[in-house]
Amino acid sequence: MVKTDVKIGGLNLKNPVLTASGTFGYGLEFADFVDLNKLGGFIVKGTTLNAREGNPYPRSAETPLGMLNAVGLQNKGVDYFASNIYPMLKDLDTNVIVNVSGACIDDYVACAEKVAALDKIPAIELNISCPNVKQGGMAFGVQPQSAAEVVAAVRKAYPKTLIVKLSPNVTDITEIARAVEGAGADSVSLINTLLGMAIDSERRRPLLSTITGGMSGPAVKPIALRMVWQVAKAVKIPVVGIGGITTGADAVEFLLAGASAIEVGTANFMNPAVTGEIVDYIENYLERHNMESVDELIGALQV
């Protein structure tokens, strides 16, 4: 029997497979296709202090082996989550992690405090990298100083595991990673979506209502792998790899590059059962390679 469990800060995952915020709803949408308790955990959609309607339609555009989205953090607010969604999730035998976003530091802190009060939520993922909201979001995540400020403020208010989700839309992602590590983050997850754009040439119009949006899907995987590789060497805290992971082999690649866990995102739209298949693949991979534990894979790239 191989050991697939990993640790992210104080968080124990039964395996390194998580889902990326905004691609897995509140988990329950996928319960017909995957046993949620089989996953290391899942990260529920971006939650803010107050309800947000998000951006106008159209909010998505398919691109070659990828897609752009500009949802803009549509959600009913943290209080709605706590009273209406949390009760349906709290008895699951997996880690339910809330992705927390905000327009200013006070909002991040207030939202994180409310999530901290929910016993069965062991961690938050702080979203300082959403490219689709005018205020806040990515604005915090593209400068080391502002990234550190918001992380330090949330760190004071949030005692459980704090994962910070990083933007790839920066000159040097390792600089941001080090800044948030210094501010008290337990882990960094990367990458959030890459800022992109799509145009309908016949109509001479953008395909998204917001003109630009966040790109995800298999097309971004090489960039994500490179950034995970760089960040894993630059920080001591565990790294969670995200970006175009579509198969079990993709997941193993991220572990080899130095990720301690991975998040499956856009692939959930292609195959709603994919997360369970990735868990099986990793177990099978370890057996095939005569490895006892997934720890042997993490950062084991031979160069």
């Binding site: 339609y57 398919e62 897609m67 989205n69 739209f269």
Partner: protein
């Protein structure tokens, strides 16, 4: 309702014109029960560019024959691949998705089904069900030209069908909202087709105080209410076409 993910087998392919095919599929196991107006997400394999599934409305469903049918109109690489499938091929299908059309509580109402082009697809399954229930209904389908009016014989076998074409090649020339049958009295309208057509039908329904529901096809990714890409702005804010729809009462829509 539990959703299924299965590799269905193509049992029949009918080329309806240059750009549209009817795909019939089955499975060794019983297909889940599908309601008129629900849809499926079909995975597109073996293309170098396409990633997302294609949401396609359910054209017909036969529980006894364990068979389901889709009309696929080629608009890009994904639908081109789907339209190239042959008997015996497998397609990974996620279904049934969304909510179907509202079934009338009794048979005393006169119903009108208004379709536009390939948007007439789900109205066929709806008409089958309405006929089975003994409802009084008529069908009005519009298209650019006679060749774009799909499955005419099959529709006509279910009841009265009227047509409009933009070029006048069949039925009355013009748009569905100009058809003379709209001078008759109807108590309820179902519509599916291009958005401008449905908006015109909704306008007609409002002016005549007729309840009306429309089936939308906003661009979609997951089909499960998770990604929030396919939202329609409604009187209650953004709603997902995939899980709150695809069928909406026009009273909810801000058209």
């Amino acid at each position: 309702m539990k959703k299924f993910l299965a590799d269905l087998t193509i049992t029949e392919v009918q080329k309806l014109n240059d750009v549209c095919v009817l795909l019939m599929m089955t499975d060794e196991k019983p297909l889940p029960h599908c309601l008129p107006g629900q849809f499926a997400e079909l995975r597109v394999d073996k293309t170098p560019t396409v990633m997302l599934r294609r949401p396609i409305s359910i054209h017909c469903f036969d529980a006894e024959k364990n068979e389901i049918g889709f009309l696929v109109q080629v608009v890009g690489d994904g639908t081109r691949w789907l339209a190239s499938l042959v008997v015996g091929d497998k397609v990974n299908v996620l279904l049934p998705l969304g909510n179907g059309f509202t079934m009338p509580a009794n048979v005393d109402k006169r119903l009108l089904l208004v379709g536009g082009g390939v948007g007439s697809a789900p109205l066929y399954g709806l008409a089958q069900e309405l006929k089975h229930r003994g409802n009084d209904f008529a069908i009005l389908i519009g298209a650019r030209s006679a060749k774009d009016l799909y499955r005419r014989q099959e529709f006509e076998a279910l009841g009265r069908v009227e047509y409009t074409t933009e070029d006048g090649s069949l039925g009355e020339k013009g748009y569905v909202t100009n058809h003379s049958m709209l001078n008759e009295k109807f108590d309820y309208i179902y519509t599916c087709g291009p958005k401008p057509m449905m908006m015109a039908v909704a306008d007609y329904a409002r002016r005549n105080s007729i309840p009306c529901e429309a089936s939308l096809e906003n661009k979609m990714a997951c089909g499960l209410g998770a990604c929030l890409c396919c939202v329609e702005n409604t009187t209650e804010g953004h709603k997902c076409v995939c899980t709150d729809g695809p069928v909406f009462s026009i009273d909810e829509l801000k058209w």
